[in-house]
């Protein structure tokens, strides 16, 4: 029993980090450009194909250089998309922006089929095998997901908090006019943000390749659940998105203990609906409400 719980915890946390990465990836673009990138699902898939199809199979690169090259290619693709679509659309109405990103997803989808075909690809000897942790058998890919995700989150925090480019990104997300008045090139900052976001998409594709295999629908579910993670955490807030992702991953995994496993996905979406109905501003909102309540009760005690 203990082993089962540990197994569920590890795979739940791993998937939670995947959802968290998805939430981070689209929150970055939401904060910088004010638009929801509905094409992110296809970009994750594209990342998987670039990594396995091009870098591993066609170029025959070893794993690490293949990952680096794939991430760089996706980041460059991100800059192009930012310049052609996201930046010009930043001031347009929401509907136009939504339609544009959905269509971009379709174009990418067709492009992927055109370039790599509609076959599923499986990287060989990549993040495969199992390891024993405290008597539980855990797939190595889950362990790698957890480690890599923590590194990405730490690096991203460092970039946003400590580097000049990252601070500029934060300013652009808070107030674009004021940012430009500080001498920040807002468009360049947006393009860098999109490049980072697409790079993270690529890493998600790489990390989940051994679990889902690289195919057209590999990221449909994680893209949707990443969206749930953002809603549960609190939209537009990076730490909250991470918390939302982890909670979602663990809860849905343990729900599998009680409910039939086909209901696993239902749990995630039901959780999102509950949050939308009762806590529309997510965990951040709940935290704020509790803080307000404590402050109020303290004031009452004093008076």
């Amino acid at each position: 029993m203990q082993a089962v719980i540990l197994q569920l915890a590890v795979s739940g946390i791993a998937m939670g980090f995947v959802y968290a990465l998805v939430a981070i990836e689209y929150t970055l673009i939401w904060n910088a450009c004010g638009l929801l990138n509905f094409s992110h699902e296809k970009i994750i898939t594209m990342g998987g194909y670039v990594f396995v199809g091009t870098c591993l199979f066609q170029l025959g690169l070893p794993n690490i250089p293949a990952i680096v090259l794939a991430v760089i290619l996706l980041a460059i693709f991100g800059i192009a998309i930012a310049a052609l679509i996201f930046i010009p659309l930043r001031n347009s109405t929401r509907l136009i922006a939504v339609v544009a990103t959905v269509m971009l997803g379709q174009v990418i989808n067709e492009g992927v089929i055109l370039i790599w075909g509609s076959v599923a690809l499986m990287p060989k000897n990549f993040l495969s095998g199992v390891s024993q942790i405290l008597g539980a058998t855990v797939s190595k890919s889950y362990v790698y997901i957890i480690i890599v995700s923590i590194i990405i989150i730490a690096v991203l925090q460092f970039i946003l908090k400590k580097t000049k480019i990252g601070k500029a990104m934060t300013c652009v997300s808070q107030n674009k006019t004021a940012a430009s008045l500080m001498g920040i090139n807002v468009k360049v900052s947006m393009a860098i943000t999109v490049a980072i976001s697409f790079g993270i998409c690529c890493i998600i594709g790489v990390l989940t390749a051994p679990i889902f295999t690289v195919k057209q629908q590999m990221s449909t579910m994680i893209a949707l659940k990443g969206f749930c993670a953002g809603v549960i955490g609190g939209f537009g807030n990076l730490p909250a998105a991470i918390a939302g992702g982890l909670i979602l991953g663990v809860v849905e995994n343990f729900a599998g203990l009680i409910l039939p496993s086909v209901f696993k996905d239902v749990v995630a979406f039901a959780l999102m609906v509950v949050f939308m109905l009762f806590f529309p501003d997510g965990l951040v909102g709940v935290k704020n409400r509790i803080q307000k309540h404590i402050a109020k009760s303290q004031m009452e005690k004093l008076s």
Binding site: K164, K167, A168, T170, C171, Q174, N175, T177, A178, S180, L181, M182, G183, I184, N185, V186
Partner: protein, 236 residues
Amino acid sequence: MLDVENISTYYGNACALYDVSFSVTENEIVSIIGANGAGKSTLMKSVMGTVRPREGKIVYKGKDITHVQTHKIVKSGIVYVPEGRDVFTKLSVEDNLTMGAYSKPAKAKELNALHEEMYEMFPRLKERRKQMAGTLSGGEQQMLAIARGLMSKPDLIMFDEPSLGLAPIIVDEVFDRIQAINKRMGISVVLVEQNAFMALSISSRCYVLENGKVAMQGKSSELIDDETVKSAYLGM
């Protein structure tokens, strides 16, 4: 140092500025007064390039900056402290100041010295350096916006309604600092104000904007005694 020559600026088809010219020379305080909607902020935004004039020319230090990007204008030495302060509410006071120096790459040591200089000028900011800017009072936010503007060591700083929504005692403090910036640091100042009396009393020259046009201009000491200005803007 700054020459705005016959600019006209439109929002869609609405004309916000019509054939406006004004100039600022080294080391002076120029004020721009006028009622709500007279085009004062539009004039500032046209200089900064956040809105673009349809006609006319803006020359700064001999260079045409009419079509230069905003961030490059900031780099060339003009800073605009916008109406409503526009501080980064979710960044600390300290980080806000650091961002002010964004356009002038500085070493950590120089940056620290700049921070200290600002804290000396605005001691309240030092007390609150770790606080989020959004939690500051209106007066403190205004001080922060001014200090943030000074962090890039500009040659020309433009203030848009710095007294807006502040208590009278704080307004005095703000104007005091603006004068100090001009006198002690030798920075030219453009002051856009609805508080015409304050603006006229600390500036050397003044432009009066009315419905997007320059209605009057001249020495502040003369305008302050002008009958039309008195009745329209000073309420006397």
